[in-house]
């Protein structure tokens, strides 16, 4: 009989949107160029404005697959900036994704591994869109399973991205996170 304690406890949090978070930067080409440098992508719709204007995109766009990167927050920021951001998030109400993760931690599923990644891109992001606004929700929590690395649960969550300028839904990313108990690998 599978252990469904976390699955049962988190039912109430599924498919409920948490607080909005805001990207550190407005959609911009310099961050796109840093990203493109890493994989040496020379697509002219990202680099050559004259060329890009003549395409169906009408101008420079950012690579859609960099949505998560463009939406990123600070890696490090002064405490007073972090505190202000945390207060603003808290003021918006419950963060259901965080509640699920905290419950999972409390039940001993302490180690995190990302096992799956998906992205869906509804419209190009481009300079002029302003900041990206993100909301997240958990869509599934499984019963405990014995995986190769340990006894764990798979938590699926979705992030939706909207532009600040016209509140346009530009994409969704889905992540499957395996949270497992340390020291419980599959015995072979």
């Amino acid at each position: 009989m599978a252990d469904t304690r976390l699955k049962d406890a988190t039912q109430q949090y599924l498919n409920r949107r948490g607080p909005k978070s805001v990207s550190r930067a407005e959609v911009n080409m310099p961050m796109a160029w840093n990203y493109l440098e890493a994989v040496q992508d020379s697509n002219p719709v990202y680099w050559d404005e004259e060329f890009a204007k003549k395409t169906r995109f009408g101008g420079l766009i950012c690579p859609p697959q960099m949505l998560k990167v463009m939406a990123g927050g600070h890696w490090w920021a002064p405490d007073y900036i972090r505190e202000r951001a945390a207060e603003s998030i808290k003021a918006q109400g419950d963060d259901y994704v965080q509640k699920v993760r905290t419950l999972a931690d409390e039940m001993g599923y302490a180690i995190n591994t990302q096992v799956g990644t998906e992205g869906e891109f509804l419209a190009p992001i481009k300079p002029g869109d302003g900041h990206l606004i993100m909301t997240s929700m958990v869509t599934e929590v499984t019963e405990e399973k014995q995986t190769r690395v340990g006894k764990g649960v798979f938590i699926t969550s979705i992030v939706e991205y909207r532009t600040e300028k016209d509140d346009k839904l530009v994409g969704r990313t889905k992540m499957v996170l395996l949270k497992y108990k340390p020291g419980t690998p599959r015995q072979t």
Partner: protein
């Protein structure tokens, strides 16, 4: 990409294979990866940390693959193509000293919600292992 030509959806055949694309990885690749994806997790740049975590070496992150797979698909189809969906599994790591080879094929050609789409099956191999990444992309063509 030199000629910036676009593949037309009408001309694509299911089963058609993409060109091969190689990418050699160095420590500097990992540095530009961290800078470009803004992922400063130690496992991607700190070799001692990686060793203690029990992995072969520092390795490329998920967001690098998203960038590389997007580049590969758009290079094949041309600048008017637009990535609609991406999904992949990571089965093996890619580290400094490795050489990645991308290969792919068209598995489906269809129209949906007014868009002309192809589904691509793309694999990233390295010199040690095939299928380090198994990806499914949906690309919109003109």
């Amino acid at each position: 990409m030199a000629t910036y030509e676009n593949l037309k959806w009408a001309d694509v055949r299911e089963g058609q294979e993409l060109h091969k694309l190689q990418f050699p990885i160095t420590i500097t690749t990992q540095v530009i990866d961290a800078a470009g994806t803004r992922d400063i997790n130690q496992i991607h740049h700190d070799r001692d940390f990686a060793k203690h975590a029990g992995v072969r070496d520092i390795f490329l992150n998920t967001m690098w693959y998203e960038g590389f797979l997007g580049r590969y698909a758009n290079e094949w189809a041309g600048p008017e193509s637009f990535l609609r969906k991406i999904s992949f599994d990571m089965r093996g790591n890619n580290c400094p000293g490795d050489l990645i080879t991308a290969r792919g094929k068209v598995v489906k050609k269809y129209q949906q919600e007014g868009m002309k789409l192809v589904d691509l099956d793309i694999r990233l191999d390295n010199q040690l292992q095939s299928d380090t990444v198994i990806a499914r992309l949906t690309l919109e063509l003109i």
